[in-house]
């Protein structure tokens, strides 16, 4: 005898397979969006921390002016190191744009100094003093601490992160709506069971519990598969990026980290919890319209 083993809510294979696919796809997109947002923030941190404390001085003039500027920079309190950037180094920096063929000898390259501020230095004050010292030596220079550039990078990444968060929010809301719709459809299709349960004295919470458990399991399973697929897609994208030198230069810190694991691990839990809540709210609201 099977004795109370059968679930009170029978499985509906075709409908649930379609719902599983939709929730899985939404979780895949949401997890991927989360990974993209996390990677973008990580890349921005890497970029900006690379240039943090670095000062680049462009010198207009001959080699003597460059040497003079290097000496003045080194002598400025708050500067830890300063050295001229060689032509080979400048060509290396330009390689992503001009290719591996090298820079024509006839192309004049700016004379640059790479300086590094001491860790405790007050950056704005140091820049002011350095610029004043170079100017008083009648040198035509531009002092750049990359703050404007890193600020622009940060703004762009913040915007990209916001877009990714909105995408995750929209995908989540879509998922909730889909689960609510599916729950309502199941409730209508299984009205006979609901009526018999009511006649047997079941409270609304008992009936809602049947739907909750059904959709919790569906959400967890679909979320897990979606997260797994997102992990596979992210790993594949990283693999493709690593095949391209230029892309790797642009995206220095792209890799799967513990934070990514957390995002992927949370996906099935969030999908399960959201599915369960959506199912409960839908069932309770629908039942409240009944006698």
């Amino acid at each position: 005898m099977s004795a109370a083993a059968s679930p009170l809510l029978p499985k509906e294979d075709a409908r649930e397979a379609a719902l599983f696919f939709v929730v899985c796809a939404l979780c895949f997109l949401a997890a991927l969006s989360g990974l993209v947002a996390r990677s973008a923030y990580a890349a921005a941190d890497a970029w900006t921390s690379d240039v943090s404390g670095e000062i680049t001085i462009r010198v207009r003039g001959d080699d003597a002016a460059l040497a003079n500027a290097v000496e003045i920079t080194k002598a400025t309190p708050g500067i830890a190191t300063a050295r001229p950037i060689t032509r080979d180094e400048a060509e290396e920096l330009l390689r992503p744009w001009l290719g591996a063929g090298g820079v024509p000898v006839s192309l004049p390259l700016p004379r640059l100094i790479a300086a590094e501020a001491a860790p405790a230095a007050d950056a704005p004050d140091l820049l002011r003093r350095l610029a004043a010292a170079l100017k008083s030596a009648k040198l035509d220079t531009i002092v750049d601490d990359h703050l404007v550039w890193s600020g622009d990078v940060r703004k762009s990444i913040d915007l990209a992160g916001l877009v990714a968060l909105i995408a995750v929010g929209l995908l989540g809301a879509t998922g909730l709506a889909v689960i609510a719709f599916a729950t309502h459809a199941t409730l209508l299709a299984r009205r006979d069971i609901v009526e018999i349960l009511h006649l047997s004295g079941a409270q609304d919470g008992y009936i809602a519990g049947l739907f909750e458990r059904r959709f919790l399991m569906l959400g967890v399973q679909a979320g897990a598969l979606g997260a797994l697929l997102a992990f596979g897609a992210a790993a594949f994208i990283l693999y493709l990026l690593r095949q391209s030198v230029a892309q790797i230069w642009l995206l220095p810190e792209l890799s799967l980290s513990l934070a990514d694991g957390l995002i992927l691990g949370m996906a099935p839990l969030v999908a399960g919890a959201a599915s369960m809540i959506a199912a409960r709210v839908t069932v309770m609201r629908s039942l409240s319209d009944m006698v």
Binding site: M1, S2, A4, E195, L197, H198, L199, S200
Partner: protein, 241 residues
């Protein structure tokens, strides 16, 4: 609710000028008053469309009256909150003409359903359910699913499901409508036995006037939206329209 008990002479079911309307000029029940005393066995007859099923629906709290009052076990249900209806429903067993068994459950599981809903442990009620199915003659069909049962067998499972929680009131809506005459009489004997052995109050809505005549039970006739008590000898001999 059950703890409140019921005075010996208090009606199990009482309708006071109850009406059900689904809009202007569409009264299904106009002005129904009736009272069922504990331990009574009563037939509800009337022509098709007279509202017998609607009246039973009022009684098993599947519908609220749009006029008048419905009281069960001494409790006025008219304005009860949803959550307060469940304890009353647990004291009522309902049998339908179309059985309303759950197709994905076995006969045993269908009968055990109300006990499962009440949170009972399977090992605590298993023997009772088996005995009940044996009593209705289905002790050898415990694992059969409704699709493999005949109409009479399905109705006996439905009756077993209705009585498994030992209800104070059983409401049956055309319980012999989908079975042959012999099975109809056999089902009625089950109702009669329940009524005598457990003093369960039973209300049976039926078209089966031959069964009504043989039973010698009380008869209520529903027509034109109202109920009248019919002396047994006066029960119409022609079939209802």
């Amino acid at each position: 609710m059950r703890e409140q008990g019921l005075a010996a002479d208090s009606p199990v079911l009482r309708l006071d000028r109850a009406g059900v309307s689904f809009g202007p000029d569409s009264d299904v029940l106009a002005d129904v008053s009736l009272s069922l005393s504990p331990g009574s066995l009563t037939f509800l007859t009337g022509p098709s469309g007279a509202g017998k099923s609607t009246l039973l629906k009022l009684a098993y709290l599947g519908l609220r009256p749009t006029a008048g009052r419905v009281s069960l076990f001494g409790v006025d249900t008219t304005h009860l909150r949803r959550r307060d209806l469940a304890p009353l429903r647990r004291r009522i067993g309902v049998v339908f003409q179309e059985f309303r068994l759950l197709d994905h459950l076995t006969a045993y599981e269908n009968v055990a359903l109300p006990l499962r809903v009440l949170g009972g442990q399977e090992k605590a009620y298993r023997q009772d359910v088996i005995e009940l199915l044996t009593w209705v003659g289905l002790g050898d069909r415990l694992d059969a699913r409704p699709a493999t049962l005949s109409g009479g067998e399905k109705q006996r499972v439905a009756i077993a499901r209705a009585v498994v929680v030992k209800p104070d009131l059983i409401l049956a809506d055309e319980p012999t409508g989908n079975v042959d005459e012999e099975m109809g009489e056999r089902l009625f004997r089950l109702f009669r036995e329940l009524n005598k052995r457990l003093r369960t109050t039973i209300l049976i809505a039926t078209h089966d006037l031959a069964l009504v005549r043989k039973s010698k039970a009380d008869v209520l006739r529903l027509a034109d939206g109202m109920v009248v008590r019919v002396p047994h000898a006066a029960e119409p001999k022609s079939p209802p329209q």
